[in-house]
């Protein structure tokens, strides 16, 4: 009987047959890498489809969709003290519209002022532009204001809002069918799409900058206004370089480089 007991003891002490001999941490890294690769492929695939779809969309459909998804609330009541500024901005805006043929027959880009202590501007899907009051207080020159307006109009001309919407719908549908199984997958997919949408937003900002730079060259012969504007902002804001990977806009250094190269 001792022989049999020896065999049993050996079975207990030996490597366990019922548990695979794998390094769990290493395994997880490999499969996580594979998963991220698959997800990036899916995002690239559906991102391309959405880009092709939006690029080939007719102007008529674009206007229809814009009206559907636009902010429907009434714009802020115009303040009389900004009347002069708005007049000047409208003048610049009209020059920009006249320089780009593709904008004709679309939105007339109404401009409104927002009370805010940051220098900023934004555009809504239907072409309504908002500029913060602080931007006016900084007394920027005409070509600098033209850069700000041309950047926002560039977003409209590139149909950036529609691109974001269609991407989010397509990629969201594709990934939610993979990630609905459990919370871990949902976590990972959320993280990847967050980082990817930031990268997409940065590329859109870059294209809008290039559009604005070309517009300035058409209007004034050079894009000096854009460079001056960015240099002025740079003096005030100083954020660490690595943060550029986690923000919606490229860093100011990078944007200056874009202008210098175009």
């Amino acid at each position: 009987m001792t022989n049999r007991e020896d065999l049993q003891a050996a079975l207990i002490q030996d490597d366990n047959i019922n548990v695979s001999k794998t390094n769990e941490g290493f395994n997880l890294l490999i499969f996580l890498g594979g998963l991220i690769f698959v997800v990036i492929l899916i995002i690239a695939f559906f991102g391309t489809i959405s880009d092709i779809f939006i690029s080939n969309m007719s102007d008529k459909t674009q206007m229809k969709v814009e009206r559907l998804i636009s902010f429907n609330s009434s714009p802020p009541r115009p303040d009389i003290k900004y009347n002069k500024n708005i007049e000047k901005l409208n003048e610049i805006k009209n020059i920009i519209i006249s320089k780009d043929k593709s904008l004709r027959g679309k939105s007339n880009f109404p401009i409104f002022i927002l009370e805010d202590s940051n220098v900023n501007a934004c555009i809504f899907p239907n072409g309504t532009i908002y500029i913060t009051s602080e931007t006016l207080k900084q007394r920027y020159k005409d070509d600098e204001l033209a850069f700000i307006l041309a950047h926002e109009i560039g977003h409209y001309a590139h149909r950036d809002h529609l691109r974001i919407f269609s991407r989010q719908i397509l990629i969201g549908l594709a990934l939610s069918s993979l990630g609905c199984q459990n919370a871990s997958m949902a976590n990972i997919l959320n993280g990847i799409t967050d980082i990817e949408s930031l990268a997409h937003s940065r590329s859109q900002e870059k294209n809008a900058d290039i559009y604005a730079s070309n517009m300035l060259i058409k209007m004034y012969g050079s894009n000096k206004g854009g460079k001056d504007f960015i240099k002025k902002i740079q003096e005030k804001e100083n954020s660490p370089e690595f943060l550029k990977y986690f923000s919606t806009h490229p860093s100011w250094q990078d944007r200056l480089k874009i202008l210098e190269n175009s």
């Binding site: 007991e5 993979l178 199984q181």
Partner: protein, 150 residues
């Protein structure tokens, strides 16, 4: 972004602690199994258990345990579930649980010479369809302990 970093921290912590607990558990299981090697268990004997020795006592013995996997194991298995194949991180959880339940049953049997008709049942106590659930398995082992009269 904070989500991803938080997730990484949780994964590393649960991996380190979980693998340490598992290592210690396996060490104890092996020690106890070696100690009990002279008291065999068999899974047959329900219809007729034949022995020539005089029998002193017969008794039902049970051993039960509820064992849970850690967050890291759940995460690894969830990712593996995407590709299919063996979910290796759960194998050790179930193996540990079953061996522990059998060991508790054998230890309860005390001086019994043999345990016959051993059966092992398992039941998930968590809701596996809940996306956050970590597997929690209740395992019960039971059999008839027979002591011979010397």
């Amino acid at each position: 972004m904070a989500d991803i970093f938080g997730l990484l921290v949780i994964l590393v912590i649960t991996w380190l602690i979980g693998s340490r607990i598992e290592k210690n558990h396996y060490k104890k299981i092996k020690e106890r199994e070696i100690r009990l090697i002279k008291k065999p268990i068999i899974t047959y004997g329900a219809k007729r258990f034949k022995t020539n020795k005089p029998i002193k006592s017969v008794e039902l013995v049970t051993g039960e345990v509820v064992i849970s996997g850690d967050y890291f194991k759940k995460f690894a298995a969830d990712i593996k579930n995407f590709f299919g194949g063996r979910l290796t991180s759960y194998e050790s959880v179930m193996d540990r649980g079953r061996r522990e339940a059998i060991l508790r049953m054998r230890e309860k049997a005390g001086n019994a010479n043999i345990i016959v008709n051993t059966k092992i049942e398992s039941l998930m106590v968590n809701n596996i369809y809940h996306p956050q659930s970590v597997p929690q398995c209740a395992i019960i082992a039971y059999g008839t302990a027979i002591t011979y009269d010397k």
